[in-house]
């Protein structure tokens, strides 16, 4: 079971939408939240529709439109999100309380459901096929990819638009901040991994991919497998080894690992065993996009670019031991040492 990444479109806290990130380097942040750098949506979205859309809808439709422009019209749309259209849900719930459940505006309510983003994309693209939204916390994006790969494997579709999307809201930040998961100081994203600290930076993003059963001229990589599991006492090396064996690979075949370290000492120690058991290049990405439930979609975008460009962006390298060529990338991310996800990309 495999799928080719034939196009991608991404809106993130970096200049990724126009590709300037690779020429100009990373954007620096000195605050606990990393908000997306957004394009002028009027170039992609009908202005009459735009006015009623929340920010996450604009981000989703903007990134999806760019992806389809670079790729092809999809037969199906599958989306992963941790919290969905949270800003509109908050707006709607606040209004319910403030107005004593009377005189409620319909727009935030209509926009507050999780599957609103994939629905709006389907309407905009005129795609009447399979339309699904997965919201499985930190495994949302990998389950989305798995769903798409099964559709392709069963010859149900040729091209699937998949995406991972989440947004920052002040309410989400203040509630989750009570769990002490966000940095109280040392906010600089480019120094996220320096020193031993508690907490990380909150992020957001929308990353979309056209996955196809066949490669196109512009394809960047192929996804050859994903594996997710929920377990707080897992032997990560054993799990990775077993997963790679199902793809006829070993850890020695992996030349680059993209790991979901986020600068929180307790979170990051889970990656140590895997990092130290091979000589693979080690790449980080959460200092570029922050921590959010579907951040592994950013990792997939980064991995696809590494394989296509045969170059690792300097600002993402933690350890570089193999420089000649990049063929197999293992992406590993976890949440709270409990929700784990692996994805393997190949050239």
């Amino acid at each position: 079971m495999k799928a080719y990444i034939n196009a991608h479109g991404i809106i993130s806290p970096q200049h990724t939408f126009d590709g300037a990130f690779f020429e100009n380097g990373p954007e620096e942040y000195n605050q606990p939240q990393m908000h997306c750098i957004e394009p002028d949506y009027k170039e992609f979205i009908n202005p009459a529709k735009l006015r009623r859309m929340s920010r996450i809808l604009k981000m989703g439709l903007g990134a999806a439109s760019l992806c389809v422009q670079r790729g092809t019209q999809p037969d199906a749309i599958i989306l992963g999100t941790g919290f969905g259209c949270l800003a509109d849900l908050e707006k709607f719930q606040y209004a319910m309380k403030a107005e004593n459940e009377q005189l409620l505006s319909p727009t935030p309510f209509v926009n507050s459901s999780h599957n609103m983003i994939s629905s709006q994309i389907a309407i905009a693209l005129g795609c009447n096929g399979y339309n699904m939204t997965h919201f499985h916390a930190a495994l949302s994006f990998e389950n989305t990819v798995q769903d798409a790969m099964m559709l392709i494997a069963e010859d149900e579709v040729q091209n699937v638009l998949v995406g991972g999307i989440d947004e920052i809201t002040e309410q989400l930040f203040s509630i989750t901040d009570k769990l002490n998961i966000w940095r109280k100081d040392n906010y600089n994203n480019m120094n996220l991994f320096n020193g031993t600290h508690r907490g990380t930076l909150m992020g957001e993003g929308a990353a979309f991919f056209i996955l196809g059963s066949k490669p196109t001229d512009g394809h960047s990589a192929q996804i050859i497998g994903t594996h997710t599991f929920i377990d707080s006492n897992t032997d990560i090396i054993g799990e990775a080894t077993d997963f790679l064996a199902t793809l006829n690979l070993t850890l020695a075949d992996i030349d680059t690992m993209i790991l979901g370290r986020n600068g929180d000492a307790e979170n990051d120690c889970v990656y140590d065993a895997l990092e130290n058991c091979t000589q693979a290049n080690i790449v980080h990405y959460k200092h570029l996009c922050g921590e959010y439930r579907t951040s592994s979609a950013f990792a997939m975008w980064l991995g696809a670019n590494i394989l296509q460009r045969q170059q690792i962006p300097q600002c993402t390298i933690k350890r570089q031991s193999r420089k000649n060529s990049y063929s197999n990338i293992l992406i590993y991310n976890h949440l709270n040492s409990t929700e784990h996800a692996f994805t393997v990309l190949s050239k």
Binding site: P47, R51, S105, P106
Partner: protein, 90 residues
């Protein structure tokens, strides 16, 4: 109580805010142009109609009892202003 023209100016600003119309200023809105319909006036739709009914209820405390009258009340900004003036309590 405000005059019809003063109320029209207030309504234009309130409509722009309630419906998140970013590209228009109150001066761009013709008080007599139809609010709804393909390619006409502000080109609003049924969701916008609910937002406008809520605007009248919240801002002017006037409840529209008969839903069948909404089409007439929301025909234009001037029609909205006339309805509000006729129904507003002193």
């Amino acid at each position: 109580m405000k005059s019809e023209e003063e109320l029209i100016n207030d309504l234009k600003a309130q409509i722009i805010e309630a419906l998140s119309i970013e590209d228009l200023t109150p001066a761009d809105i013709d008080a007599d142009a139809p609010l709804f319909g393909d390619g006409e006036g502000l080109n609003l739709d049924s969701i916008d109609a609910i937002e406008l009914v809520l605007l009248i209820e919240k801002q002017y405390h006037i409840h529209i009892d008969d839903p069948r009258t909404r089409r007439t009340i929301l025909a234009s900004v001037r029609a909205m202003a006339k309805f509000i003036l006729e129904n507003q309590k002193e």
